[in-house]
């Protein structure tokens, strides 16, 4: 297997694995966060605005982890430096 094939296989497999494994954790975390927020809303409906705002801020922080994995995945597919390098090499030969 030459360099080009190896880099292509590694990039594709890693991109898929990154986003697959990387979205498990944030999804579970967000589910727990929303569940706790709902139960505290049921206990104290007066504090609804504070709870909702804090919930959104917390969800955004948890979501960022999934976004990091997504960005790495996109870089591997569309802006892959190793792939560009090896393409430039074969084009120059």
């Amino acid at each position: 297997m030459d360099n080009m094939t190896l880099i292509a296989i590694a990039s594709i497999v890693t991109a898929g694995l990154t986003i697959a494994l990387g979205s498990i954790g944030p999804a579970l975390g967000e589910g727990r966060a929303v569940a706790t927020a709902l139960s505290s809303l049921a206990q104290q409906p007066d504090a609804a605005t504070t709870i909702t705002r804090t919930l959104f801020v917390g969800l955004a922080m948890i979501e960022s982890i999934a976004i990091y994995c997504f960005v790495v995945s996109m870089i591997l597919i569309f802006a892959n430096p190793f792939w560009n390098h090896v393409i430039a090499q074969t084009a120059g030969k």
Partner: protein, 231 residues
């Protein structure tokens, strides 16, 4: 597959490039500045006011209340910065309904610039409120051992602000582009609506996080708590 509006070149002269990010940012600046100038030409303080003035007042008082809820006691000092952040990111996301428009926040340059603004503004507001010595002392707040961790957390949350906004905006436009090549009208429209929702949520998150960071930097320990003036 275009990864960001940086790659849409409108005009080029040597190494000076007018790409999509710059042009759309200028368009947004024009809309915000000219729009508010036109609406605030004749402000009325009575009960009878124009609809546009009413809209602007709703927006401004809403943002002021949010800033005060976060814990910043005099929201007039911060609403210029925080309000502009929110309005810019929200308008950038809302305008995706216009065909041919790509949100400039879908480019890492724009979001990095906005995150750098927050990175500079937090010490500025902190020093203005607590003085230079008081602000620097907050870095060694629990113990001196926490100094490197505090510095690292400052840098990492700036990076997180930039990447969070960039990732959300870019994924919205990219999913739309991919879906348009696969399925016809209905599903891409649903995804476009979802993109609008996440854009507004991200605008809110960006400004609220900036407000929380500024509140943490300007927090002054008082012996007697100030009474709540308005609620």
């Amino acid at each position: 597959m275009r990864l960001s509006p940086d790659e849409m070149i409108f005009w080029q002269h040597g190494f000076l490039k007018l790409n999509g990010t710059i042009v759309f940012t200028w368009g947004l600046m024009l809309v915000l500045a000219v729009g508010s100038k036109l609406i605030t030409r004749k402000l009325s303080t009575g009960l009878k006011r124009s609809r546009w003035q009413n809209l602007l007042e709703i927006v401004v008082t809403g943002i002021e209340k949010q800033i005060e809820d976060v814990g910043l006691r005099h929201p007039e000092k911060y609403i210029g910065f925080l309000g502009t952040l929110f309005l810019f990111v929200a308008l950038a996301s809302l305008c995706t309904v216009i065909p041919g428009y790509e949100p400039p926040t879908g480019s890492l340059s724009t979001t990095a610039a906005l995150a750098l603004c927050v990175f500079v503004a937090v010490p500025l507001f902190g020093i203005e409120e607590r003085g230079l010595g008081g602000y620097l002392k907050s870095y060694v707040e629990p113990t001196v051992i926490m100094l490197p961790f505090n510095i690292i957390s400052e840098l990492s949350r700036t990076l997180a602000l930039a990447v969070r906004l960039f990732g959300n905006m870019m994924s919205g436009t990219m999913i739309l582009a991919i879906l348009l090549t696969i399925t016809p009208f209905i599903f891409p429209i649903a995804m476009s609506a979802l993109g609008l929702l996440t854009g507004m949520v991200q605008a809110y998150i960006f400004s609220i996080l900036a407000a929380v960071y500024i509140a943490a930097a300007t927090r002054v320990r008082r012996s007697k708590p100030e009474p709540d003036t308005k609620h």
